[in-house]
Subunit: 199 residues, 2 copies
DNA sequence: GCCTGTGAAGGCATTCACAGCA
DNA sequence: TGCTGTGAATGCCTTCACAGGC
């Protein structure tokens, strides 16, 4: 399942040139094996045609459906530092079904300013905005020390999915989906391979 | 192995209070099972004491050794947008063995400016800086369109590890380790779970 | 008694290989 | 002939359970 977004990106990169694609071609683009592609796609149902391949548009539609991208998701971002700004400005979100409906930061120098057309609000407005916009996903881009408190507040406001960029392992109540992106971790994994390769 | 950085972070968060830790405690902190912790740590050698637990400092030292963090790694960042700035300013790097030795961007409005004490250089300087600093890791935070070209240039300059934040699947020659962090992918995975949970 | 280290069992993901259909 | 769909085989990771030391 983790690979469906990858396939989706490859299909998007394909442009309007090709109307069909084989598992071999898609595997080559995604840097995986063709057997993997076929197994993965067969979970969505049998949309390929033997001897021919997959219809690009139809496949995109099916993957988007499986990922729940056929509707829009409302996203709030907490912490408007460089990383928060990068996410708010990220062009990839709007046309992939993610809409930033709230930006929050308790730095009074930031409150009231706009980023990517959205006004930065103080944290006390979080609960209200989450409820009125029915926000689905919360993104944490605060400093480490604030992250757990923010996670609690998001959960209390009714958010069911949290993406955490702060370098801190968070606890959330059951029923709240939590993902973590840790920049240090990524570099440490690279370090491991470099080390192992003898560099 | 992917979990070693996680354990390391937990140990760091522990502060100076505890000198020993059990697999149960560490599992609780890291949100994994204690059997996993023990299996993972036993790969490093048998550093635990039955009936007691693991010595925190010693364990940190061993994990750092396994991850290759006992030396410093030199990092260059290409693309100084919000994300590039966020990484350059990221406080977690210096004290974890990662040193930013170069910032590159071809935007003439940025070249010559400093971020976190490092001057932004034009792309034509990349090759020279990578070689003179013996840089190990390249981070790509450019727009999508430039990413593949940057990856090629990094590889040609001798970089053996690339961390790619651009939403683009890259091709690199064999022997170059490539990791990818895709913000859209992360949100799409959350979308999948929300969708599946019936939201 | 407590907690690690680790065989054994179980489950999940990947790969193989080929039947089946256009 | 070409490429998908899929059982079967393989390998890997996780979990269980407990023997072994402190």
């Amino acid at each position: 399942m983790q690979r469906l977004p990858l396939y989706l990106r490859c299909l998007e990169d394909l442009g309007t040139g090709n109307t069909r694609i084989s598992s071999d071609q898609l595997a080559e683009m995604a840097n995986v094996t063709s057997a993997k592609v076929r197994k993965d796609l067969s979970f969505l149902g049998s949309y390929g045609v033997r001897g021919v391949g997959y219809e690009v548009e139809h496949l995109r539609f099916q993957i988007e459906g499986a990922l729940g991208l056929s509707r829009d998701w409302a996203v709030v971002i907490v912490g408007v530092g460089n990383l928060g700004r990068a996410l708010a400005n990220y062009g990839g979100f709007p046309n992939r079904g993610f809409k930033v409906v709230g930006l929050f930061d308790d730095d009074s120098a930031k409150v009231g300013k706009k980023v990517a057309g959205t006004e930065i609000l103080p944290m006390r407005r979080l609960n209200g905005v989450v409820k009125s916009t029915k926000a689905d996903i919360g993104v944490i881009t605060t400093p480490t020390a604030a992250a757990q408190d923010v996670a609690d507040r998001l959960a209390n406001a009714g958010i069911k999915s949290i993406l955490n960029f702060a370098p801190q392992v968070l606890k959330v109540q059951e029923g709240v989906e939590l993902r973590r992106v840790d920049l240090s971790t990524e570099l440490q994994v690279l370090s491991f391979y470099l080390h192992r390769a003898g560099h």
